[in-house]
């Protein structure tokens, strides 16, 4: 092989390397632009959390009940929505009742929420009461609370005694 042929082969390999780099750049750019938009995904998940909150709180419970302070079973009757039950529960928690007094219906609400939410989301509900000289906190879900990276849809209610009740639905990727 003479010098001219060697030079041509060297040029060809140089071109080959440049073509490889250019191909990698094209494919890398394409994969970056095709990656899911994180902002849009977050907005969609927040909208879904709001849909779950609205739907779940609207639904009615079948003969909900709880134990009152003197250990008697209090039947609330038919047509009580999840929203009304949780509002009443949080108010009563701030007046000294415990989560155990509501555990039967809380389990039903959590089961319903889990059944309603589509994969790959996990779900939990939290509630709180502040103001009016009283506080209360409620968590319905696995573990001690929602994970830090979550999608929350919440609603606040002003009560006649000056306290503020907040009920939230939290979704997260499992």
């Amino acid at each position: 092989m003479d010098d001219t042929a060697q030079s041509a082969l060297f040029d060809a390999f140089l071109f080959f390397v440049i073509a490889l780099v250019a191909s990698a750049a094209v494919l890398g750019y394409a994969s970056l632009t095709l990656a899911d938009d994180e902002g849009a995904n977050r907005a969609n998940a927040l909208a879904y959390a709001e849909d779950v909150r609205a739907a779940l709180l609207r639904t009615t419970l079948e003969d909900p009940w709880y134990w009152n302070g003197s250990g008697e079973r209090v039947e609330l009757g038919q047509g009580v929505t999840v929203e009304r039950f949780l509002l009443e529960e949080i108010q009563l928690l701030s007046r000294g009742l415990t989560n155990t007094d509501f555990s039967a219906v809380n389990s039903l609400i959590l089961e319903r929420a889990k059944s309603l939410v589509r994969p790959p989301f996990g779900v939990g509900l939290d509630g709180s009461l502040s103001g009016g000289g009283r506080t209360a906190a409620l968590w319905l879900g696995d573990g001690g609370g929602p994970p830090a990276d979550r999608f929350t849809a919440s609603w606040t209610y002003d009560t006649v005694d000056g306290s503020i009740v907040r009920i939230a639905v939290n979704l997260w990727y499992t």
Binding site: L9, A12, F16, L27, L34, A55, S115, L116
Partner: protein, 150 residues
């Protein structure tokens, strides 16, 4: 008349030719792959947006919801909803499948309405809603729209 190097020179250039053709092929193939992937993603995004639009249209349609409340579906309207009614609500050209699956209440039911046969290419959008039976009985439901691709 050929010189002594003519035949040898050709075989030396074959190596160069192969390397150049290989490089060009890889470059063109990667450009084609990027273009195809981009087109497919664009079509999927358009179909996903259309499925979400139809889902929102169903949840807000006055003929389906109860008492004007968005996301609160009337059970009688859902039971009566047929393919032409769904096509009217959807207002699109793609075949649509609506599934309303109850997640609470005694013996939960599933409702299914379809405007036309769906092909193998599909896109779904799903959310949560409530089903109104009466003021004493409101059930949770998953609502899913599946849209056929082109």
């Amino acid at each position: 008349m050929w010189g002594e190097r003519a035949a040898a020179g050709f075989f030396e250039d074959v190596h160069v030719l192969i390397v150049v053709v290989l490089g060009m092929s890889i470059l063109l193939a990667s450009l084609a792959a990027a273009f195809t992937a981009r087109e497919a993603a664009r079509e999927a995004a358009a179909l996903r947006a259309e499925a979400s639009r139809i889902l929102r249209a169903v949840l807000a349609d006055p003929g389906v919801i109860h008492d004007g409340a968005v996301g609160l579906l009337d059970i009688v309207s859902i039971e009566r909803l047929n393919s032409s009614g769904l096509a009217r609500v959807a207002g699109g050209v793609h075949p649509v499948l609506l599934v309303v699956s109850e997640r609470s209440g005694e013996s939960p039911r599933t409702f299914l309405v379809q405007t036309d046969t769906l092909g193998s290419s599909r896109m779904s959008a799903s959310t949560a809603a409530a089903l109104w039976y009466s003021d004493l009985d409101v059930r949770a439901a998953r609502v899913t729209i599946t849209l056929a691709g082109s």
